[in-house]
Symmetry: C2
Subunit: 134 residues, 2 copies
DNA sequence: CTGGCTGCAAATCTTTTGCATCCTG
DNA sequence: CAGGATGCAAAAGATTTGCAGCCAG
């Protein structure tokens, strides 16, 4: 696929499968999710390859690493600034459209270098919220 | 110590050592940090005890679990709402005083149950920022 | 005195690494 | 055809668990 050429790394069949799995994926998959999905096409792919590809994508700014799941790392092909909610019941992560403005006091701006900031929420997703209230 | 009576769990010497280590601690220690610290007083304490105590404290709302370190879980005895910055260089976590107001759209409020929300920042802490610019 | 807590060791889970071989550009 | 990518297996790290014995309330 030419659409992946611009990433600037060797486009192997395994990497293509990973990229296609991630493309437009808003499920915030873990390395294991990605591994198990690509396994269907490439029964010999290894975690080493998956992690190496994820690292290469992160380095090129094509993938975000999410740490709101306390159990393992998750990945997000959407690198635009947005907010997440971690569902404490089903452990899934959801994109949520919220608005906010952060005021960084002068003391913070002077002393820290802030490269990223985003809002993390936790609670219950729509389907778990319904089950909860029954 | 009577100040820990109100937690509502058995106050063993090991737990007291953990509580004293955590009290007022704003270094956001990991389980390993806590383990190694208590080890000085109790050379036979185990990770099982540390993790069991941390779980008991979390359940009673006396301890917050932080997931902004991508490598391991960190803990914070300050359970009031506040913001963190993870330093990408030294891997430490800092409390930062920032102000913000989040607007949750009607669609979000209707469909999700949001128990917590906070701001996560990453970048460089004061000392790493200085080294960086040299 | 009893249920919860402790400590040990083993298990589990996630992520990383060394290395020989392979294949994209 | 060279350097980066792959796959295997082993290692490293973090966290959990089973269980026998212990002790705070």
């Amino acid at each position: 696929m030419n659409k992946y050429r611009e990433i600037g790394f060797k486009l192997t069949p395994q990497r293509l499968a990973i990229l296609e799995y991630l493309d437009g994926n808003n499920n915030h998959p873990s390395a294991d999710d990605i591994y198990r999905s690509v396994l269907k096409k490439f029964p010999t792919i290894s975690f080493a390859t998956v992690y190496a590809t994820l690292t290469a994508l992160k380095k090129r700014g094509k993938l975000a690493e999410i740490s709101s799941d306390p159990y393992k790392r998750r990945y997000d092909p959407d690198t635009r600034k947005h907010s997440h909610l971690h569902c404490d019941a089903c452990n899934r992560i959801f994109d949520i459209p919220i608005e906010y403005t952060i005021v960084f006091p002068e003391s913070v701006r002077q002393n820290f270098y802030i490269s990223h900031s985003h809002v993390e929420c936790s609670g219950l997703c729509p389907s778990c919220k319904i089950h909860e209230s029954k």
